[in-house]
Symmetry: C2
Subunit: 219 residues, 2 copies
Amino acid sequence: MNSFTSENYLKAIYKLVEHGNDAVSTNAIAQKMSTKAASVTDMLKKLADKKLINYQKYQGVSLTPKGEKAALTVIRKHRLWEMFLMEKLDFKWDEVHDVAEQLEHIDSEKLISQIDKFLNYPKFDPHGDPIPDMNGKIQQQKSKAISKYKKNDIVKITGVVDHSASFLQYLDKSGLALGNEIKIKDVVEFDRSLHIVINKRSTLFISNDVAKNILAITK
Amino acid sequence: MNSFTSENYLKAIYKLVEHGNDAVSTNAIAQKMSTKAASVTDMLKKLADKKLINYQKYQGVSLTPKGEKAALTVIRKHRLWEMFLMEKLDFKWDEVHDVAEQLEHIDSEKLISQIDKFLNYPKFDPHGDPIPDMNGKIQQQKSKAISKYKKNDIVKITGVVDHSASFLQYLDKSGLALGNEIKIKDVVEFDRSLHIVINKRSTLFISNDVAKNILAITK
DNA sequence: TAATTAATTTAGATTAGTCTAAAAATATTT
DNA sequence: AAATATTTTTAGACTAATCTAAATTAATTA
């Protein structure tokens, strides 16, 4: 079994690789983990010893198949727990992350498969992120940031990029939620801000910064 | 916040105090924790520094009010999680303990109060043990081991003393469960073994060893 | 390409929790 | 009450994870 700490490193590396980067730098990991580069180097050696990552001094790291499987298992657990907290225990979407960070390390195959069943095998979590299945398979959405759509496009919100509580609270307050239908009523040339219509009812102005953090697909 | 390890020590001390002993010995704790006396001494010093236990060298330990509160919080979480696993996720009563040992350390007040609500505020867990409320208050049952009842007594099973998987599996296989009505049909003088009737239907012979581990109240 | 800057690794310490072996205190026996 | 046995504590060491400061390697710039 991997320690909580190892699991967190693997998850961080997975997410850094996922978002572009081919080989991940020590500094990038240190930043994501809120720790120091020296600590990361120490841990990388241990993970390499366990064949969880490919690591050569100064050359950055990537996950081995074994490491990726481990990372995906943690991510699966995290996202299922988030779903459980929202669906069954009335947590709000900005409240689930911290608790799921703890629950994701609970070691019980039966527990997670039963939670999965209890939730009726969801494919996406409350933030629109895909939930890997038992084998680590992910069902990808072909959504993109609403900042990339153009005037008069009608789209459905499928997820967010920024998962911070403050961003999620802002969306709540603005009446934006997963599954909402959005029409791009106008795009301001100058700053790329948007005027949108939510569910054919209310209208809202959002900055380009916000638009870049909301994911959607064409209906 | 107390560490997982500290929480486990506090829980162990609570249980040893609960079952008789006034001041708990280092060795007793070591045995319960499956560790060495030297390790226990080290930890006792730390717990005493944090005012969680009363500790004087060579004199044994007891919990301070603060330590007892902490222990009861862990026990509350453990028992609520056991209940959740059985009621909602179809775990059997011999499967819940190990997972609950992990879940009891998750740190989130909202999580545990929501689980409590979700289960409709149960007062006893799947083994018949009382679940402390938010303030650490426990609703005691006045039950005793069925080995202490006499011929023709009719009682209801309310709990077990031994919580091991093997004992619980034996009870399952014998058709004994919490809430069952039991009639003491006969007591064998020689070895104090019992002949009982379960729910007015089947009969069963049980040894005194087993009888001492089944708790019940008169109907 | 040499010099400078930035990133990474090493060296050496620290903390929490654990251990073994030895010393000290307490309990039990005779 | 002295001798013996048991329990508990101390001393010193180990591991995992972390840190700071110094050294090394790689990348950038002049």
